[in-house]
């Protein structure tokens, strides 16, 4: 399986190249993820932010190869995880990686746990799938896992059912299942969106701790810029299936370049700032069917749009060291060479 081990430490754990994922609507395919490339380094937490319909969840489902069959498909691009091309894999091959080397946690812990099986059963299911382990060992290991995600009385909880637990506890169980086989990459899709703010704080704390202890990489998908600021090393801002901006977390918040990112930042009410009016973005995200064919997809809503934005598609290019932006404002006015001066 691992014919191509990682050469050196900074090689990316996950590399997505020119990914195009399309969904079929009335027989025609529309790209929900449109030519997206990014890397996740070992032990890095990469945030993917964007509003509903920007393609952030579809991207994670593509990486996990969990797209709904017959409706969604990867049409182009490469997904290279730890030197292995995932996009070419068959279902049975990917099953050996999914849950073991790459794990995922979802937004709604109630719907992602099976209500008719005990917590212990669902934890052991993962262990039996990927490890040679006896029943007794599996039970002990699941208790240990529950303990490691901060569940008190794990010996009791292991025999309980999802409905007996609170939302925060269920999300802890989901995390325990996800980390059961010590994955190298954890994809967390809105892991705290359904939770209250004090519980969210507990879960974020736990995720950070587990990431450090297990040396995992994490892709954190969220719409909450506060969560991004708190958790991530690097951030990808998506709009309408494309990456608008990619940079480290500090420059994203203190030097946002893409007009969309800038507006998004101004749209959130802040605790320590008093503004009478929040900035808004006129209009709404175009639906998959009505996506503009040429030019920048944000052009129609962009306050800084120029005539050529409607015809020329911006490329995601490095504008400052480590800071990529896909916007014509930067392609014309600032030649790349001058930036480092």
């Amino acid at each position: 399986m691992s014919a191509n081990p990682r050469q050196h430490k900074d090689a990316p754990l996950l590399e997505v190249k020119n990914l195009e994922t399309a969904f079929s609507i009335d027989g025609t395919y529309y790209n929900a993820v449109d030519n997206v490339s990014f890397r996740v380094k070992p032990r890095q937490i990469v945030g993917i932010v964007g509003e509903s319909g920007c393609g952030k969840s579809v991207m994670s489902l593509s990486v996990m190869k969990l797209l709904p069959k017959g409706i969604g498909q990867i049409r182009n691009g490469e997904i290279i995880f730890d030197g292995i091309h995932l996009e070419k894999m068959t279902d049975s091959e990917i099953n050996k990686i999914r849950g073991k080397d790459i794990a995922m946690i979802f937004q709604e812990p109630m719907t992602s746990l099976n209500p008719v099986f005990s917590i212990g059963f669902q934890l052991q299911e993962v262990l039996f799938n990927h490890m040679k382990i006896s029943k007794k060992e599996a039970r002990l290991k699941s208790i240990a896992l529950l303990k490691s995600v901060g569940i008190s009385r794990p010996e009791k909880i292991v025999d309980e059912y999802p409905h007996q637990l609170s939302g925060g506890m269920r999300q802890r169980v989901m995390i325990a299942i996800a980390i059961a086989c010590q994955p190298k990459l954890l994809i967390a899709d809105e892991p705290t969106t359904a939770l209250d703010v004090t519980v969210q704080a507990q879960i974020l704390e736990l995720l950070k701790e587990i990431q450090e202890v297990n040396d995992m990489s994490v892709i954190l998908i969220t719409h909450d810029l506060g969560v991004v600021a708190e958790m991530c090393d690097e951030v990808i801002v998506m709009y309408a299936g494309k990456i608008a901006e990619r940079t480290d977390v500090d420059s994203l918040f203190h030097n946002p370049k893409h007009p969309y990112t800038q507006l998004l930042m101004g749209a959130i009410p802040k605790m320590d700032e008093e503004v009478e009016k929040l900035s808004t973005i006129k209009g709404i995200v175009p639906s998959l069917k009505n996506m503009p064919k040429t030019g920048c997809k944000f052009a129609a809503r962009c306050p800084k749009a120029m005539p050529e934005c409607l015809t020329v598609t911006p490329r995601l290019a490095e504008n400052e060291a480590g800071h990529e932006v896909a916007c014509l404002l930067y392609e014309t006015s600032q030649p790349k060479q001058e930036v480092n001066a």
Binding site: E51, T198, V228, Q262
Partner: protein, 339 residues
């Protein structure tokens, strides 16, 4: 730092609220019975709202925050008399409406309206937007659809919907636009008080800011008083003049928003504020992580309901229930730490 298109014109409207009290809630309790057994006897009660008191002045926005199950929505609905209060008093515009019924309740209801959380569920999908917006008006007088059309058009324009929205159906609109329809409906009768229950929590940030801005504009234009219920503290802070924090059916702290955020007194408020992820990676704040979950409101802890999770709990917290006390001018807190 970033593009600032915020206009500063309205900053001076700061103290628009008068001293006249529009709504006063005294010792309000709303209990839900839990029925069990063959005879459907009441076996227990959920104390959803348990003895809360506050008042809202004319033109003011009072924010009500708390986590799920704290009773904030039940409180809102009880004030509108959509739920029957178990005990206590609701005084609206000088009139005790706690026990008003029938036609007189119907008459008073013109003066208070509600904006709901889910713009997908709160609009009848078979009704044209024009009819949806005129429905509240038709409820109270016998004007025809035709006569009302100019008025409805005016309302649609006020909430920022295009003219042709009149003939469309809710499914043709996005979430943000549907929330605008809901707001137009709430405005139709020119109410004095609007209770907005999580009006933006189903919306994306960029749309959320549009709706928040709209609500503020309308408040100025129509002299509205708001009870703004939400779980998102930064949104509540943006919208409110004063804020009440609820925990397990009780009001634990009420204060001017700046006072509440600058110096939260109740340990629960402190934890709640510290838990909000700040959208700025350079700010690393001290976080108070609460242990465990909110206990069940069927069998709430004795004494102070927060004591099992409180880092400052003292022996008396387990037995004596603290009541709201004014600790600083305009800042009330229900906690034994403050004598």
């Amino acid at each position: 730092m970033m593009s600032t298109e915020h206009n500063n014109t309205a900053v001076l409207k700061k103290d628009k609220s008068s001293n006249e009290v529009l709504l006063e809630v005294k010792n309000l309790k709303t209990y839900y019975p839990i029925k069990g057994g063959i005879l459907r006897k009441t076996v227990a009660v959920v104390k959803a709202v348990d003895d809360i008191s506050f008042e809202i002045k004319k033109g003011e926005t009072l924010g009500l925050v708390g986590e799920s199950g704290c009773g904030k929505s039940t409180a809102g609905r009880t004030i509108l008399r959509l739920l029957e209060p178990t005990d206590g008093q609701i005084i609206f515009d000088g009139q005790d409406i706690t026990n008003v019924r029938g036609t007189s309740l119907r008459k008073i209801r013109q003066d208070f309206q509600m904006v709901f959380q889910d713009p997908y569920a709160s609009l009848n999908p078979t009704m044209m937007v024009g009819h949806l917006v005129s429905e509240p008006i038709r409820n109270y007088n016998s004007k025809s659809e035709k006569e009302l059309k100019p008025e409805v058009m005016d309302l649609l324009a006020k909430v920022g919907l295009p003219e042709d929205a009149y003939y469309k159906y809710p499914h043709e609109f996005s979430g943000g636009q549907r929330q605008r329809i809901g707001i137009a409906r709430a405005l139709a009768l020119r109410p004095k008080l609007i209770i907005a229950d999580e009006p933006v929590s189903a919306l994306d940030v960029s749309v959320q800011s549009q709706v928040l801005n709209l609500l503020k504009e309308l408040q100025d234009e129509f002299d509205l008083t708001f009870l703004f219920i939400a779980h998102d503290l930064s949104v509540v802070k943006h919208m409110s003049d004063r804020i009440g924090v609820m925990y397990l059916g009780g009001l634990v702290e009420v204060a001017e928003k700046d006072s509440l955020y600058a110096e939260p007194l109740h340990p629960y408020t402190q934890a709640l504020i510290s838990a909000i992820p700040e959208p700025d990676p350079r700010k690393k704040k001290e976080r108070i992580i609460l242990e465990g979950d909110v206990p069940s409101p069927i069998d709430p802890p004795k004494g102070c309901t927060f004591h099992p999770r409180c880092a400052h709990a003292m022996p008396e917290c387990q037995s004596v229930k603290p009541h709201l006390k004014e600790v600083k001018p305009g800042h009330r807190v229900a906690c034994h730490l403050y004598k």
